[in-house]
């Protein structure tokens, strides 16, 4: 565990007890079984905002606390433990980051205070195909008068159904695959010609596919430089990846701890199954992998807060290692629970399903291994 200052410890401890009391896994289960369309509970989100979590990245001048990425990561780790569904990732982490890195003074002034208050939900609309590929943007933005006209599609947008605004990566020049020619736009979700289809994913979160049919936006919708949006997009994604990795870490740790408990209590052949070396060694390996993953996640978050120049490689490292960890823990959680782990009434399946969505979001392990090698020049 990273060395925390007093404020960070307080927030972490607060988050720990809040999720246990207010957002245990049973709350997520209730949300799922209640057939909620948005994938999260607005009342719970309001509570989270009340505690300041929606504004952890937002500077004080816009109504936040500006405590930074490690602090937000600590909260995400705790909410990950209990599968808490909320717009923390989409809004407090990703959209907020994009605004901070590329937003105009006007955009920041309009949206950041609302986010901090928990009154606005924003999200990044980047991918168009089935896999994460930020440079392959094809959604077209054509200049018309002072503004632009957007045409194209976006897929698997987090909290896309609930969002009030999208930060849309569009192409103003070049062809899909070029890093140049990408421009970010801040688009109100009520814009004419914009339609969203929420889809039912295995983790029951509120993802949506978007269609842009002649969506007109003003010149003031541009976020960052025209044609040069990729740098902001990448930096935003790296921060999103590191934060998501923190959530994955928390979830992996919880999968592990629940499983460890079971190894100590389930008796077969007259002894706890945890006395069998075949399981002991796997548990030891899981613990080892979790520790390794934690180091990567914390290093990435701290590098962002420090403004270090190796954020990109650390973010890829964190996302890949957290991905491997959550993959392993979620599979072992089912396997080591035996039959009970296969039942819907047990939590193992919920962790397993959420894990695959996290893995695929903002680049899976394969994507980040490749990116890591590329960044390091091999």
């Amino acid at each position: 565990m990273a060395v925390l200052n007093e404020e960070q410890s307080m927030i972490r401890d607060g988050a720990k007890s809040w999720v246990q009391e207010r957002s245990p896994v049973t709350a997520f289960r209730k949300l799922r079984d209640g057939g909620s369309n948005e994938g999260f509970d607005r009342k719970v989100w309001a509570e989270m905002a009340e505690m300041g979590w929606s504004g952890i990245l937002i500077p004080e001048e816009f109504g936040g606390t500006g405590l930074g990425y490690l602090t937000l990561g600590l909260v995400l780790e705790e909410t990950g433990r209990t599968l808490t569904a909320s717009p923390l990732i989409s809004t407090a982490l990703t959209a907020t980051t994009a605004l901070l890195l590329g937003g105009t003074a006007e955009q920041k002034k309009t949206w950041l205070p609302k986010i901090a208050e928990g009154k606005a939900i924003g999200t990044l609309a980047v991918d168009e195909g089935v896999h994460h590929a930020p440079e392959k943007i094809a959604l077209k933005a054509e200049k018309r008068g002072a503004g632009y006209v957007l045409n194209g599609k976006k897929s698997f947008v987090l909290d896309g159904g609930a969002a009030d605004f999208f930060i849309v990566a569009a192409r103003t020049s070049g062809t899909p695959g070029d890093k140049d020619g990408i421009t970010l736009f801040l688009v109100d979700t009520k814009a004419n010609g914009l339609s969203r289809q929420t889809v039912k994913s295995i983790d029951n979160r509120g993802v949506a596919n978007l269609t842009f049919a002649n969506v007109e936006v003003g010149g003031d919708a541009v976020l960052g430089p025209v044609g040069g949006g990729f740098a902001i997009l990448e930096a935003t994604l790296d921060r999103a990846r590191a934060g998501l990795a923190a959530e994955m870490l928390g979830q992996a740790v919880q999968s592990f701890e629940t499983t460890l408990d079971y190894l100590k209590t389930r008796v077969q052949f007259g002894q706890p199954i945890g006395t069998f070396q075949a399981l002991q060694h796997r548990a030891a390996r899981m613990f080892t992998d979790l520790e390794l993953a934690r180091s990567c996640v914390e290093a990435a978050l701290q590098a962002i807060d420090r403004g270090a120049d190796d954020v990109a490689q650390l973010a890829s490292l964190a996302k890949a290692k957290a991905g491997d960890a959550v993959h392993l823990m979620s599979n072992e959680m089912v396997q080591m629970h035996g039959g009970i782990g296969m039942t819907d009434a047990h939590d193992a399946g919920l962790y397993l399903k959420r894990a695959r969505v996290q893995e695929a979001t903002f680049g899976n392990q394969s994507y980040h291994r490749d990116r890591y090698a590329t960044l390091l020049g091999y």
Partner: protein, 402 residues
């Protein structure tokens, strides 16, 4: 003409007959729909299916090597292989399956008395009678022999009390083959093998929902269930040997059949699916090199598995019943199957994360559900860990540390 040549001539004649019959009988509408036979599917009612089932049942070809006197196909191993090959060629599959065919029938043929065989085999052969397996209990999973469901001799009948769990298909089954405790003073030697009519008063079945959303299995409660004495199979307190024999058949079946590597959802080979969802480079290779290497590794495992099945079949010629290879087949098959599912979900990206509804194709949803359901293949029929223990101890001769 040599004897071997005469035999191969006979086989050619048989092949022609089979081909002709299949051509006339197998409804093309059923092609590629073998998943109807998965335990979660319940009892199919499709009229084409029912016609096909009746025809195959009359021939006994769903159980091709079982003796003719009980309605089985009475075929030699070679003929059965020809039948399988010809069915494969046209995408036909056996409509007669389930636990009766895979595990109970073969055990019954070995251990049942004449009366039990004539009574119970024909229903399995025609697919009319469904069996479920009452082995596991809440406290007795891997340690099956610790089971506690009580069976007491009441003179003219047995009285059964207790609870089974994870009973697959209990909600559809007509009969249950059950391991029960008939002696509380001994562990393995206090277990008997009992056949229980699921319509008996005192049986309650509660379906359990799986992480895949289906409810293929149940909790099964027995309260003062009367069982006729003729339903004891094998000797009193001699059920463990029979029960274990049945598990060998189960593991053999799970390694190769529907529990094996191909299990619902996307039926194309992995490389094809990867090319579609991930794309290719200018040389036609899967665009993601990391994924490509893992797909190749999986395809090699799959090939090795298929070659091992073939080799084992060759070696089993003349030799009866499952051999030591069974234990590696179950673990190899389930592991490779799970890897395939994990890879499919990864390859499909966002489209491999759908639960239901719009935005996903049927194949995509089925692939996700099969991925989740397939997690059970390393748990049921003896978990992967238990299989490894068996391999280490029985086959490799490694002993527990003291």
């Amino acid at each position: 003409m040599s004897a071997a040549a005469a035999m191969s001539d006979d086989l050619d004649v048989f092949r022609a007959e089979v081909r002709d019959w299949l051509q006339k009988t197998f409804p093309p509408s059923l092609k590629g729909r073998a998943s109807m036979m998965l335990p979660d599917a319940g009892r199919p009612t499709d009229p084409d299916f029912l016609r096909w089932k009746k025809a195959m049942g009359e021939k006994g070809w769903g159980t091709p090597t079982w003796p003719k006197q009980y309605g089985g196909g009475g075929l030699s191993r070679e003929q059965a292989r020809v039948l399988a090959q010809e069915m494969n060629k046209i995408g036909a599959w056996s409509p007669i399956g389930g636990m009766g065919v895979m595990m109970f029938g073969p055990t019954l043929l070995e251990y049942g008395n004449e009366e039990q065989k004539s009574r119970h085999v024909p229903g399995i052969v025609t697919g009319e009678v469904w069996w479920c397996q009452g082995y596991s209990e809440p406290g007795a999973g891997s340690d099956l022999a610790s089971l506690r469901t009580q069976c007491v001799d009441k003179g003219d009948h047995y009285l059964v009390n207790g609870q089974k769990i994870w009973t697959s298909g209990a909600q559809y089954a007509d009969w249950c083959f059950c391991l029960v405790r008939t002696d509380n003073t001994k562990k393995h030697e206090g277990i008997s093998f009992l056949l229980i009519d699921m319509k008996s008063p005192g049986i309650e079945v509660r379906p359990i929902k799986l992480i895949s959303g289906n409810s293929p299995f149940c909790e099964t409660f027995f309260t003062d269930v009367k069982v006729p004495k003729e339903n004891l199979m094998g000797p009193l307190n001699g059920g463990w040997t029979i029960g274990k024999r049945l598990l060998q058949f189960e593991r053999q079946g799970l390694g190769s059949g529907t529990g094996g590597p191909m299990r619902g959802g996307e039926s194309r080979s992995l490389d094809q699916v990867a090319k579609e969802y991930v794309g290719t480079d200018d040389k036609g290779r899967i665009a993601d090199t990391d994924l490509r290497a893992r797909v190749a590794s999986h395809m090699m495992d799959m090939r090795a598995f298929m070659l091992t099945i073939q080799r084992a079949m060759g070696e089993a010629k003349g030799n009866q019943g499952p051999s030591a290879t069974t234990s590696i087949m179950k673990n190899a098959g389930s592991r490779i199957g799970q890897e395939r599912s994990e890879l499919l979900v990864e390859i499909m990206g966002h489209q491999g994360l759908g639960w239901e509804g719009e935005g996903f194709t049927k194949d995509e949803i089925n692939t996700v559900r099969a991925w989740l359901g397939g997690k059970a293949t390393t748990i049921y029929g003896g978990s992967a860990e238990i299989q490894n223990n068996i391999i280490a101890k029985r086959i490799l001769g490694l002993l527990d540390h003291q």
